[in-house]
Amino acid sequence: MVGLPRLPRHEFDRAYLERLIAGDPDTEAHFTRYFGDLLSLKLRSRLRSREQIEDAKQETFARVFTSLRRKSGVKTPEALGAFVNSVCNNVVFEMYRSGSRTVALEEEFDAADERQPGADSAIAAGEDRERVRAALVALPTKERELLTWLFFEGRDKDQVCRDLHVDRDYLRVLLHRAKNRFRERFVQEYTE
């Protein structure tokens, strides 16, 4: 994490918060995109379907915007992320309580061969999809295979370790290297 290139971002300062409360379209777009990615990552392990994930995200954003405009919930700009996470926890808890299906989502829930990135996905937009594709294609073949085995084919991780003659600790290291390389390339795609 330290030393890696950064994705384009805004600073969450008082001015950002004020623009958000005032309904500035660019700031709102950044906010929903930025936290939408984080919420998707979080919700994938908690909700079963893309529709549920999208519902939870929209409900979270609606509650956050309502709280912000009532000047309640967020005392300082630095607390914005924690507040969004907290609101999301409440939304998920209420979905659980209302009897929604809450089985963990499979990693490879995109359909085989007819696969489409979900509405929740960070790669839903065509432009981003191409950036992600370019960054993945630039990875060494072994790393692409590893990512495919883990997240596309959903292979058993212990079996992957046996196939690669590595233990689980080293599997994390391999994933770490692949992620760092992907991130470097992904950032380049943004800046080129």
Binding site: M1, L7, S40, R48, A104, A111, R168, K179
Partner: protein, 221 residues
């Protein structure tokens, strides 16, 4: 969890690999929602995983696990709604068509592949816990029509073939068929060796999909 802990313990990697207990997962989430560095890392990791899950990291058009081993077929959704007979006929036609496209390498020699008829052997719910006998096709390949009991599944289905003593011989992921339609799987004869009886297990999400695995024995044609 603080930033140093997140970095030193490869938190995002363990998070992606679903290796964190719930308490640590929640603690890490609290952290990455507030830490700009970790949030950026999490967003990149999320994009990478979503891209890989969508098949964008594949080095070949066909997943390695499916080449010459197990081929899942997904019948078209609309065809299955009006009758029981039609879906099975369509599934058989699809199996034949896809079989022709795919079995030339591992299953048939090129000059044998002008046409091939596949006869799926059905594994019905009633056969769970019992042993079905299926007939091998060309070069020992077996085509299975797995009756899912009419249930409809939203997520993908993981399938795993193992020998009777539990040794996994082939596995993969299939898109669930439409309600009432069977899951069609073709198993290469090359992997069906060394055992008389095989066990097919289907998983949906974290649990086993069916109350008992499907057991079958392969009979020579």
């Amino acid at each position: 969890m603080d930033h140093l802990q997140a970095v030193n313990t490869l938190a995002i990697e363990r998070y992606l690999l679903d290796e964190m207990p719930q308490e640590e997962r929640e603690s890490f989430e609290e952290h990455y929602f507030s830490c700009l560095e970790c949030a950026e890392d999490a967003r990149a990791a999320s994009a990478m995983r979503d891209g890989a899950a969508a098949g964008l990291a594949r080095t070949q058009a066909v997943p390695a696990a499916d080449r010459g081993a197990v081929l899942p077929f997904r019948p078209p959704v609309r065809s299955w709604r009006s009758s029981v007979a039609l879906p099975w006929a369509a599934a058989a036609m699809l199996a034949i068509g896809l079989g022709y496209q795919t079995v030339q390498g591992p299953l048939l020699s090129r000059h044998e592949a002008d046409s091939v008829a596949l006869m799926p052997s059905t594994l019905r719910p009633a056969s769970r816990g019992q042993e079905a006998v299926v007939t091998a096709g060309p070069n020992g390949a077996v085509t299975l029509a797995v009756d899912l009991g009419g249930a409809q599944f939203e997520s993908s289905i993981k399938y795993d073939f193992a020998t009777a003593d539990g040794k996994s011989i082939a596995s993969g992921v299939a898109t669930p068929p439409a309600a009432g339609a069977p899951l069609l799987l073709m198993v290469s004869g090359s992997v069906l060796k060394g055992s008389d009886t095989y066990v097919l297990t289907l998983h949906d999400g974290p649990g086993v999909l069916t109350p008992a695995p499907y057991r079958f024995r392969v009979k020579a044609p």
